[in-house]
């Protein structure tokens, strides 16, 4: 087992364990910071899949944008300085049943399907390829996504604005 593989499994374990902390911790601020490690772990897994542009986008958008939004949400809505306050939870039993059932289904799908996978072939992508594809074959989804982002921007500003001086 070479260093490449060892580092991969360390990063995968970090991703999965911090995702488990997100799922099972009682304090919402711990969950937010564990989500940081999960998102970084996914970025490193994208690098292992030679998808470097996706990895950089992941760090920029998820860690720099969505996680900051979530932290703002946590700090604006809960009293995080009050240590005794724990986030309430539903009963654990339905969640466990749903989780175990879904894992069984996913496990069957993963291990019983002949995936026809390429194993030992070099795969390199560069960012200009992705740019050409978006500007060529995938131009319509790109434009639709930009309209959706504009609508989401206007909608969230409208929802979150202060209504005191009407």
């Amino acid at each position: 087992m070479d260093a490449y593989t060892i580092v991969f499994y360390v990063l995968a374990a970090m991703t999965v364990i911090s995702a488990a902390i997100v799922a099972f911790t009682n304090k919402i601020i711990y969950a937010a910071f564990a989500l940081l490690f999960t998102l970084f772990g996914f970025a490193t897994l994208y690098i292992y899949l030679s998808a470097d542009f996706i990895a950089v986008s992941q760090v920029l958008i998820y860690v720099g944008g969505i996680l900051i939004l979530i932290l703002f949400g946590v700090m604006l809505t809960t009293k995080i300085y009050d240590v005794s306050v724990k986030s309430e939870r539903n009963p654990i039993l339905p969640a466990l049943i749903a989780g175990i059932g879904t894992s069984i289904v996913i496990g069957f799908v993963i291990f019983r399907t002949p995936w026809n996978a390429v194993v030992d072939k070099e795969f390199t992508t560069i960012a200009p390829d992705i740019g050409n594809a978006i500007m060529g074959k995938f131009l319509l989804p790109f434009e639709v996504a930009s309209i959706l982002l504009l609508a989401a921007l206007i909608g969230s500003v409208l929802l979150a604005r202060s209504e005191e001086n009407e």
Partner: protein
């Protein structure tokens, strides 16, 4: 040995953890974190299939669009949560039932 199945197992575990988070938490922001976990695991699946099966960049482009949609979803959902908290001073999704009757 890192194969396609390794990535699929990691992504499956994170998907199940996200599902458990969504069902188990009462805090609306905790539920949002579960949604982010699920979207990330699906993204990892897309990129892994694009690397090992399709052998093209289509999977990565779909992953980019999923990231765009996740950003829009998080912005709108947090705006809604902050608005509910400002009006009702609570964030527990089981107690927000103003439209029930």
């Amino acid at each position: 040995m890192i194969t396609l199945n390794t990535y699929l197992v990691i992504s499956g575990i994170v998907f199940v953890l996200g599902l458990v988070t969504i069902i188990n938490k009462k805090n609306a922001i905790g539920i949002l974190m579960g949604v982010e976990l699920i979207l990330n695991s699906v993204n990892l699946n897309f990129v892994a299939f694009g690397r090992y099966v399709d052998f093209d960049i289509k999977g990565q482009i779909i992953a980019i669009f999923v990231i765009i949609l996740a950003a829009a979803e998080a912005a709108v959902a947090l705006a809604i949560v902050l608005n509910i908290y400002r009006n009702k001073q609570l964030i527990d999704v089981t107690k927000i039932d103003a439209m029930k009757n």
